[in-house]
């Protein structure tokens, strides 16, 4: 096992859970990032777009604030080219739009409601992610 960090992972998970709970308690909304982003591009009212934009700004701000106090260092993976990043980003965007959710909306909010759709989605993207990493490893030998 590599760099196992259960405590910070659990604490971070609880914070994500508190955020999702607040958003439901106050605004009655699911904290699903792909859904929140997608909704910005819907033909809807300004109020409907505004809270979504505010949440996304908050997300970036949260990253900024944390990194300001505790610098984040991420080891770059050399074999990842711009083409890979674009292809991966397209798949993530297209897939979450088609599958109506991602790791947060299905993985946290949906699973917490015991939604059969979300449980099926999580099983599908986890399995697909595991298979993809396995295949990529055969090529790059990482």
């Amino acid at each position: 096992m590599e760099n196992f960090t259960p405590y910070s992972a659990l604490a971070g998970g609880v914070l994500i859970g508190i955020s999702a709970s607040l958003l439901m308690y106050l605004n009655g909304r699911v904290a699903g990032i792909s859904g929140i982003v997608g909704g910005i591009f819907n033909r809807s009212t300004w109020a409907e777009k505004a809270w979504r934009i505010a949440f996304i700004i908050g997300l970036v701000l949260g990253g900024f604030i944390y990194a300001h106090y505790y610098p984040v260092s991420i080891v770059p993976r050399e074999f990842i080219t711009t083409t890979w990043l674009v292809l991966g980003g397209l798949l993530v965007g297209f897939g979450t739009a088609m599958g109506s959710g991602c790791t947060s909306g299905h993985g946290i909010c949906g699973v917490s409601r015991f939604s059969l759709r979300s449980l099926s989605a999580v099983a599908s993207f986890l399995l697909s992610g595991i298979v993809t990493v396995y295949i990529v490893k055969q090529f790059v030998g990482a």
């Binding site: 709970s21 958003l23 439901m24 990194a67 739009a97 917490s112």
Partner: protein
């Protein structure tokens, strides 16, 4: 206005949680998915911490009947597991495994680095709009 501020606050907490849990590190995500190799189960604790918190909180929240600042809880109305859900999730998973980024972490990463995450965020938005164009045509 209140709903905009509460969304902003929820976003900040979410972002801090993502960085603290290291979901913003693609290496960490890929090691989590690398069950046959350098497996790092940490992200299971992220999911676990989130799910346990929300499961408990939702029970109390839904018992209130309605949210504090809105007339209704906005929950998905679709209940059927269909092909679209499964194919979409498989495509998302393959992108996730390829680059180690899912939507939340890659956006939160823009708070401290602008190289790879910016490319991924722009491509992700293109992917969302591409799906819309394909599905409505």
């Amino acid at each position: 206005m209140a709903k905009i501020l509460t969304a902003l606050l929820a976003g900040i907490i979410f972002g801090v949680g993502l960085v603290l849990s290291q979901m913003v590190d693609p290496n960490k995500v890929i090691n989590f998915l690398d069950v046959t190799g350098h497996w790092d189960p940490s992200l299971m604790f992220v999911l676990g911490g989130g799910v346990i918190t929300v499961t408990i909180a939702y029970r109390f929240i839904f018992a209130q009947g309605k949210p504090l600042l809105d007339d209704d809880f906005h929950l998905p109305t679709m209940l059927k597991v269909d092909k679209k859900l499964l194919i979409g999730s498989v495509l998302f998973g393959s992108g996730w495994g390829l680059i180690g980024y899912c939507p939340g972490p890659v956006i939160a990463s823009l708070g401290f680095r602008l190289d790879d995450p910016l490319i991924v965020v722009v491509s992700m938005l293109a992917g969302i709009l591409l799906y819309r164009a394909v599905s409505t045509s």
